[in-house]
Symmetry: D4
Subunit: 183 residues, 8 copies
């Protein structure tokens, strides 16, 4: 309830709800006493200069990641699941028991590719087959199936990536199972 | 309910306003013909699962960066200016003529420190003077004067960092001059 | 109950329960058909040459991470939580809404420090205050409060790290709240 | 002979015009008072030992970057623009609102490729299609359309790189629009 | 005999045998006196929340690595041998006299590939030949012959990688010779 | 006005003298035939938009580096010498016989520090002794004696760095011996 | 003349003894047939232009590493041991069962420090205690006890580093136990 | 003369001549007085445990690098030249005036490839043309013409790499010109 009210304020660009930390005093030396001295005022921008970048909230991102992992575990496969926001930042990472040492990176890169290009990596994979330079040459990408973008109102707001199943198609099936929890 | 209303409003900003790319077909092999085939649908999230992360728009960020650089140039100092958003991503980087090879990194780290801890680095610098572990040990930070956070409604939405003037205090004065254009 | 039985079997070196992937065919080219041809046999080691390295299972690690995040959110603080296993691999990473761009790295390093030295980082922080070389100089570490090791039978099997609260002591309080779910 | 004459002319440009910082006292500890003690003299080289490396000045580089970004925004595309000098150093970086997380790196690499090989990346892309080793294997490069070198008197002095439009050809069109402001 | 007994104890989740460090006081400042103060208690997990990850013990891993190196030296070839555990951590690395500067990395990557995908790299190499994205695009991998996984009860517990012989097939032959010591 | 005049003079230097590569066709696939097709025209900037960045020419830089190394060898010390230009790019690197594995990095960082702050590192070292944040925290720097800036008309155009002698003061003496060849 | 004689003697060690690979054909594509075509002749240097850099041979390095590990295991401590040659290259790395995730890096850095400065790290640690810049600022170093240089005829030819025991003094005691096998 | 005598001692594994630093006291805090206290004795290895790794001496390496650069300059091409020893360490790096920002890395990688595989990169380039995994996948390599190994008595002791000419064949021609000075 409070949560919703707070959020309404957010639409008015109210503070806490926007998902960023309020200006607070910070931790100093771990062994030092905390200070309550008011901080110097930071520069304050006009609302007209601000844009809003939507992302999944952590509850939704985690719900999707858990559903993804459960779908893989149900099939007996060991995977790592990563949910990225639109800035490429990790929101959730879950390493299933027994997932290989390569899975964190492959899941992250598949999600990065999906959030960058706005399509499932399976759809993108078929497009990077030329003999010369392709999007595969872009650092941080991986054009193997297993990455699924998440959208709101046709805007890309994040992506789910999976690595570790015996095929990329399976990885992507699990990512889709996770994404299905968001609808 | 209220939650969704708020969110619909947020999303009612319309796609472009949200500052994220619409789902479009992507570039493939540079030498290949562009395809117009509709992409596979990405996973679509419910609006209730989305939060909005505010940042300066590029016009405001650039205006601030330019004012920062001009203030330094007016004093005859050669600096690099960096504006980061709340995710730590570079929005604007301007290297003044003759700025040294260390200035890009120092400006970036000062901005990173300011956006992470929500205060000017000059205010933070006095707090990391203990003999043991301090926040200085956190990678990517630099607790020298010259980083200024930018807020909206007391929320940190980004920061301006400057490196290259003969003192950090000067660096920070220029960053503040840039931030002043946002009010 | 069944769980424990399974585990006992696991210690009998039964396969699936050991938390590692069985030898299966692997994903190849994303666009290629999957093969069902049996793989070449890998080298098989004698059981007498094997040691077992315990870690939290993913369910327990996630439970702890969620409890950690909830404790921070309840106080209105925006943090990132990381659970590492004894090899330093990320098992769970959760970025709370609005957590700063420095929190993933600080949470990871606190957990790394705790899992490496087997004590809470708050206890370790007081020990790295000398003027010369200390453990702080070891790469990947961060001796600020907020990292808590997890043990089984006095063995370190992992750690929980938290970054983003206004003080390291708060970070560590949340990590402890997460760890409490494991007892 | 001519060489020395040329050099003297170059050095006759006077200090400030050369675009490098004069020898000044430097910032020390952020909390310390600035010193006005004259610094120890640095080694002074003879003018005959010096060559001049031309680059765009920051005003021109920014003008070009802004024109590039505007051209993309006019078409409704979200891109990042990077201007590099001949040493590969970033002079300007502008991230358009909503540009993806991959765009900073792709724009930088396209500009790096253009400034390294002195041609638009679209022209270069057709040349790296062999089955074996090609220039694509050189680290830091990206042979997708979107990078345009800038010359003065047929000398490469920098490059503009763009990433994020639906095709590399569009990226390059915007880079060319920026370069057009330099003529 | 004793060894097996110890192992059985390990399965009882006895401490030392599990191959992880007991909670001990840690080194502080190198010049400081050691403290004997009991450490703060770390969080203790229930046994039911723990899984065991098997790996070769160091004696077995070294025996295999030595046999691998000897086989290569017998043929007059200069190689580096690496044994990784299932988390991708180096257990043993041996650089034969005269092995080239590339061999440590190639041996490590071959072992990483084998431990990730559970098959000899020679078997995997034939599968990554497509024109588009393949598993070769995953960072840290190398699909040249010379990497051999090690299993226990059909579980992958590690891998041996070799680099430096005149052909990958020779590298792999030596890795197999090392693995043969484990049966 | 004066600005343009200055610039025209600089540009009147003619192409080759400016020390940048002319626009030429580039190497493609190593096994492919070279093409003589004229390249697409790159964007051409107006001379008024260009600044000149002076650096030592390679002959002078090498002369200084050799004199530096000889001075160290004469004393029986094993050092690495690095000459950087104002952008931080290596112009010359010479590793004396028997110089340790740390010397390349220390020489580079000393030169980087000297070229960034325009003073010998010995003069700078005394200024970074505070208990809190100092310039030492800036990445890429090293405030030990052994780095000497090179100037022309009081402009910093590069620096010489030395590592490996038994003391930083000796390192710096050799760097000065090298710089003396430039006067 | 004498110079050549000396050198011939050095080279008279015979090829294999010099510890470098003979020029042989190299591995190509893993799936391709090996070629026996004689390679193009490489450039051949005169013997008078060559110096010899001594290092432990692999048998001695491994013997020392094993003795180091055994000494630690005997005390019940879990450590990683690294032997570096004078170029800083890893010759041997052994991770004892249960050694923490930080031990490989700390052992490597201690060995790097010892091989760079030619003294045990315990002796060096006492010298880097100043408030300003010290050798600790040099990347790759770690001035905690546990690194021991190895010499031949007073020449540093390598070093042994240990990490993971409860104190650096213990780490160094084990390194010395390993070094004792070389006398 | 003295030089030769010293070297003769080297063959007897005498100290200074072996090209490694004698055990000396090291630099401490830059501002501290040098100590003359004899260092603790390092571990001393038996001669029978030592192998000698030959490399070019710095004079020869520099002579070759200079000849390489001169050959390129004579043709009007702007290149960077790198000489590596057998451990992959840079002995000499020379950046010709106007050489592009990519040349240092490409020269280094070509030399690394040549010293690793013992053949000119032009000869190796033809061998890495398969559709699947090849040696090109090994990190640090570059199979474009321009790298030439240097041998003594058919032993690879180093390599010369060149980058920046309009074709790899030209790069390699210059590298060969440098190598010719060694015969």
């Amino acid at each position: 309830m409070i949560k919703n009210i707070r959020r309404r304020a957010a639409l008015g660009l109210g503070a806490a709800a926007l998902g960023v930390a309020a200006v607070t005093s910070v931790a100093v030396n771990a062994s030092a006493a905390e200070t309550t001295t008011p901080a110097q005022p930071a520069a304050s921008a006009a609302r007209g200069d601000v844009v809003a970048n939507p992302s999944l909230d952590i509850d939704a991102a985690l719900r999707a990641a858990q559903a993804t992992l459960k779908a893989a575990e149900k099939d007996g496969h060991r995977v790592t699941v990563v949910v990225l926001d639109r800035s490429g930042t990790v929101q959730v990472q879950l390493k299933g028991d027994g997932a290989g040492p390569q899975t964190a990176e492959s899941a992250t890169r598949k999600a990065f590719t999906a959030v960058s290009f706005g399509q499932p990596t399976s759809a993108l994979a078929g497009r990077v087959t030329g003999p010369g330079a392709t999007l595969r040459d872009m650092p941080g990408t991986l054009f193997l199936a297993g990455g699924v973008p998440v959208t709101v109102d046709r805007q890309v707001v994040g992506a789910i990536g999976v690595g570790g199943a015996p095929s990329g198609d399976l990885d992507e099936r699990y990512a889709e199972a996770g994404a299905a929890t968001l609808r």
